[in-house]
């Protein structure tokens, strides 16, 4: 039974069910009776959320019965692997980049992020690692700020001054 309950489909279904139930509670806050007519702003989301709860329960039931009957493979024992570590590192690199971007700015942070990402993905040729990130960043800065007028994040303090050198 545990093998069935730990199946990814079941876990995802439970998450969807719980979130849907919470959002159903949330949407009632904008449900103003017939102020907006019979189909108010909560009507469509409520229909979707109830459908989601039914579907997630259905998916969980299908998955559990499938595992118990042996028609669907049960969950395999989890072992933390290098692949998992690489995925977590990729998420961390992206998250840190996005957090720091408004403070450090695009011009300075992007080459550093690219170097880290390239290394994580297995790039070991120094020529590529130390040329592409800078060339790419420069190209994007010129294309987007000069031709497309996209105000890429500049950062604050000294990073702001550095960004002013280019855009």
């Amino acid at each position: 039974m545990l093998k069935a309950l730990l199946k990814a489909d079941v876990i995802i279904s439970v998450i969807v069910f719980v979130i849907s139930a919470y959002l159903l509670f949330e949407i009632k806050k904008v449900d103003s009776g017939d102020v907006y007519g019979e189909l108010g702003p909560a009507y469509w989301p409520k229909f979707i959320l109830v459908s989601l709860m039914v579907l997630s329960a259905g998916l969980a039931a299908i998955s559990i019965t499938g595992v118990l009957k042996g028609t669907i493979a049960g969950v395999k024992p989890f072992h933390f692997t290098v692949a998992n570590a690489r995925f977590l590192a990729a998420v961390a690199i992206i998250a840190v980049y996005l957090i720091l971007l408004p403070y450090v700015g695009f011009l300075v942070l992007t080459p550093l992020q690219m170097i880290a990402f390239m290394y994580l993905l297995g790039e070991r040729q120094k020529v590529w690692i130390f040329s592409l990130p800078f060339a790419m960043t420069l190209g994007i800065v010129l294309l987007f700020t000069k031709a497309m007028y996209v105000p890429l994040p500049r950062g604050v303090g000294i990073f702001l001054d550095i960004s002013h050198l280019l855009y």
């Binding site: 489909d9 979707i48 692949a83 995925f87 990729a90 996005l98 993905l121 996209v150 105000p151």
Partner: protein, 510 residues
């Protein structure tokens, strides 16, 4: 005759021709870069047209529009990162073809079908635009709802044996489409006080996240496909006449549908491409192969989305009503030159109108060449190792998401969708239903609510209207039949399962 001669002179002079070619090239390139699209490009170009005469300026904008609608398919096919929303469906089959070493063929089909679709719609626009605009004006909310509902029923067909998963993720897409200010009541829904969500979840941001970031995260984890493609040679191969003849019904159907959809105000190339794809699936003898890399999966959406360009120009030129986001921007182009598109412009400046018709013929022919040039440029990226390409795609995706509204909120939303895309791909949830529902969710809700109010909250009256009734009846019957065949474990004749070879599973669809 005099008008046509004036139009010929306006278009076939060296400078206008140069601007049309430049506009198409620019449009294709803008479309190919994720996050940039013809809408943004057209908007950014409007100030540059100040310095030109009105005809040349408007020819440039329409050329960018034509090129941009096709351009997105290049990156969709080569990297599974749709450069523009209207190309998102093209990646469903284009990318698997590219992965199977047929990138050049996939690009060739996309370019040729885009050109044919574009030319077809311009012919239609040219010949029957006033009449078609009149028909489109009779469409009301029930018809729009019926159209959206019919497209959403595709989710059932796409799901194969995993229909529950497909529906689940489709409803997640519909839910995400409700985030932001409700356009009818003006109240916030599911924003949780975060200003970044007030405007809703931008479809392009979600697309970039689910496709690009999800793929990067999955590849980072798997590690196995991190290697480069070595000496893989990608050159565009235009389809042979025989191949085109095999695709003729898909192309013709999508060209007609795309033109018709383009004419409908507010429903543009993106919806056209989804419906073009869904109809290609519906009418195919082997729908189970869609998503694995079949030419029809490229021909359907590519013909339809480019056919929508000409269609969308019909209400713009004859009535002054935009048929899509980009044509809405083009109205701005008219206005900066002191012109108001509409029937009066046909009377006052017919040569300008016919110049635009001619320019669109020329732009679509130019698209064939510029498509090959830009595709060649972009295809070279496939020779690079993923350890080089991945970070570059990430940076382009980030800048593209940021550039949509110059907001870090969009970048965070992109990241969230990247994680969602990763989970979905890892646990065999198809991304297609999410995207289809996200695109059509707003249209379905608004047209349902407005239509219900219009019909005094009587859903049955939707069926009583001839056009919406027919569309809804066909969609409901198809859906019920698909559900019946799944639950009774009988082959779905409508989905072509009667002809499926032994052992072939429909679960391969993406």
């Amino acid at each position: 005759m005099e008008i046509w001669l004036a139009a010929l002179y306006n278009v076939f002079s060296p400078m206008p021709l140069l601007f049309i070619f430049g506009g198409v090239m620019m449009g294709v390139m803008l479309g190919a870069i994720p996050g940039l699209n013809s809408t943004m490009g057209t908007a950014l170009l409007i100030p540059f047209t100040y310095a030109m005469d009105s005809t040349t300026g408007l020819l440039l904008l329409t050329a960018v529009y034509c090129g941009g609608t096709f351009g997105g398919s290049i990156s969709a096919i080569l990297f599974n990162v749709p450069g523009s929303p209207e190309a998102s469906v093209t990646g469903f089959d284009g990318y698997p073809m590219a992965k199977a070493g047929q990138a050049g063929r996939a690009l060739g089909i996309a370019i040729m079908c885009s050109t044919i679709g574009g030319l077809f719609s311009v012919v239609v626009m040219n010949l029957v635009s006033p009449l078609l605009a009149e028909v489109a004006l009779t469409f009301s909310d029930p018809e729009y709802f019926a159209l959206a509902f019919a497209a959403l029923t595709l989710i059932a067909t796409l799901g194969g044996k995993q229909m529950t998963k497909s529906f689940l993720i489709g409803f997640v897409g519909l839910l995400i489409a409700t985030v932001g200010i409700d356009p009818m009541a003006g109240v916030e829904r599911f924003t949780f006080g975060w200003s970044g969500l007030i405007g809703g979840v931008n479809f392009i941001v979600a697309l970039i996240g689910a496709f690009a970031i999800g793929e990067i995260l999955l590849t980072a984890e798997s590690g196995s496909s991190i290697g480069g493609e070595g000496d893989v040679k990608v050159s565009t191969k235009l389809p042979s006449l025989f191949e085109l003849l095999k695709l003729r019904w898909t192309i013709l159907r999508s060209a007609v549908l795309g033109t018709m959809i383009g004419i409908l105000p507010g429903v543009g190339a993106t919806t056209a491409s989804f419906i073009g794809y869904s109809e290609a699936v519906r009418w195919s003898k082997h729908p189970e192969k869609f998503g694995t890399g079949v030419p029809e999966g490229i021909a359907g959406p590519e013909t339809a989305n480019n056919a929508a360009t000409g269609g969308a120009m019909v209400p713009l030129l004859t009535l002054g009503i935009p048929g899509s986001a980009t044509t809405a921007v083009i109205i701005g182009g008219f206005m900066v030159h002191g012109l108001q598109p509409g029937p009066m412009l046909f009377l006052n400046q017919p040569d300008l109108m016919y110049s635009i018709f001619l320019a669109m013929y020329v732009a679509n022919v130019f698209m064939l060449f510029s498509g090959i040039i830009v595709a060649k440029l972009f295809s070279n990226f496939r020779k690079l190792r993923y350890s080089i390409l991945g970070p570059c795609i990430f940076v382009f995706a980030t800048v593209g998401a940021f550039g949509i509204s110059n907001s870090m909120s969009d970048v965070w939303i992109m990241f969230a969708f990247g994680l969602l895309g990763y989970v979905m791909k890892k646990y065999s949830f198809s991304v297609a239903p999410l995207i289809i529902a996200l695109v059509l969710g707003g249209l379905a809700e608004e047209s349902l609510r407005r239509g219900m109010r219009m019909e005094d909250y009587d859903l049955v009256s939707f069926l009583a209207r001839p056009i919406s009734g027919t569309i809804l009846a066909v969609a409901v019957l198809t859906l019920l039949y698909t559900l019946y065949s799944r639950f009774s474990k009988k082959p779905n004749i409508l989905a072509g399962e009667i002809t499926r070879p032994e052992g072939m599973s429909p679960d391969k669809k993406q």
